[in-house]
Amino acid sequence: MANWQWFHKWGSPRWFYQFSGRLLPWLAIPALLLLVGGCVWGLAFVPADFKQGNSFRIIYIHVPAAAVAMGGYMLMATAAAVHLIWRMKLAAIVMKSAAPIGAALTFLALLTGAVWGKPTWGTWWVWDARITSVLILFFLYLGLIALHQAFENRDAAARACAVLAIVGAVNIPIIYWSVEWWYSLHQPASIKFVGESTIHPTMLRPLMATLSGMYLFFGWVLLLFVRAEIIEREKNTRWVQALVSGK
């Protein structure tokens, strides 16, 4: 079955370790260049928003953090499904490794959102639909991490978390939609202007840079976590011992 060869290859931690080692610089360097470059661009070389003033520059970190946290959850749920269906160990490692990164990014999105809210809305926290959704995403990540830590058996932890991650992924669209609906029911008139303020193309370009930079950064750090976990799990195998003794 030549078609399935790639699948066995991806299931092999050793192969993945070697493959991802070659991939690392191709993720790390563009990620850092795009993130740093996009931030400098957005901080100093883009005109201020005529409604929000300079505080709008926070979106160059807030939006990528929120978007990648969301994408990270979907990646985690996909890995969870792969693990449950094909019992692929590597998928369990990816799922476990994505959780702390996603939680950190949702935390960042919440923090920068709150800091942006103070000069824009005059208060640190507003129960606006988007921020509430990010908060719930944060809770979902924390629940997964807590569940994983509660198990002593590593395989049971991975499978239980996989079920929870899939349940969460099925629920996320429902949660987001219900929060949108809830917000439309209670929306105060005073903060409607935020939705209307159209973003100018010159402001959009640095955002594209930091957004793609954040995706690459996620991939890079995910690989670092996955590689650490592979070494830890395979520490008694010959190839790992040869690897650590070799240098």
Partner: protein
């Protein structure tokens, strides 16, 4: 034995056990009653203010009470290895899980919903909202039972499951809370309360179709470890 025979057997066994140990169904009810009466003490006795907050309070407390009841859903069966027997039996898991969850709703969600008009009166909820409150709780607590059962199945093998269960399950409860309390508020304000109720019913249908699969998978994991 046919599937429906086993479903009824499981259901009857659970109901009899719940009736024998009265605490299983009465404790969540007492919790519901006590926490609801804490709110006026914390907020103040003004009628107007309580009337505004009542739908949200009742819904949040009902949600917590339902969650606390879920913790024991599979624990007894897990401890005396009945669960393992059920999983080993050649019967499909889906109807078994359905029977267990339905039985749980009968002793937790149903009495809670039936008691809710009393609490609503204590909390000064306008009478226009009473019927809708009860219907929304009947539909909503059923969804909560299904979602809670997923969490209970995942944590049943763990020694300290209780608090962990709430961390897992509470975020997933949010849509039910939103539409349940919105239905009551709409009824009080004289607006259309059927759409949110219809959404609750739709959520129930989705939970009915999908949740038993997740519960069954989670139970297998908990028993296998």
């Amino acid at each position: 034995m046919g599937t429906s025979t086993v479903m009824f057997a499981v259901l009857r066994r659970d109901l009899q056990a719940a009736l024998r140990r009265g605490s299983e169904w009465s404790n969540p009810l007492l919790f519901f009653l006590m926490v609801c009466s804490l709110f006026p003490l914390g907020i103040g006795p003004e009628r107007q203010q309580l009337a505004v907050l009542a739908p949200g309070i009742i819904w949040v407390v009902a949600l917590l009470a339902s969650m606390m009841a879920t913790d024991g859903l599979f624990r007894g069966d897990y401890d005396d290895a009945t669960l393992e027997q059920l999983l080993l039996s050649p019967l499909p898991l889906y109807p078994l899980v359905l029977a267990k969850t339905f039985g749980h709703w009968l002793v937790s969600g149903l009495p809670l919903s039936l008691l809710s008009p009393l609490l609503a009166t204590i909390l000064q909820l306008p009478s226009e909202g009473l019927a809708v409150l009860m219907v929304s709780l009947l539909l909503g607590t059923a969804v909560l039972s299904f979602i809670g059962a997923i969490g209970a199945a995942l944590t049943v093998g763990l020694r300290k499951g209780g608090l962990l269960l709430s961390l897992i399950v509470l975020p997933l409860y949010i849509p039910v809370l939103i539409f349940g309390s919105a239905a009551v508020k709409s009824a009080i304000d004289g607006m259309a309360y059927l759409p949110p109720l219809a959404v609750l019913a739709a959520l129930l249908m989705a939970a009915l179709a999908l949740a038993p699969l997740a519960i069954g998978g989670a139970l297998r994991i908990s028993v296998d470890q």
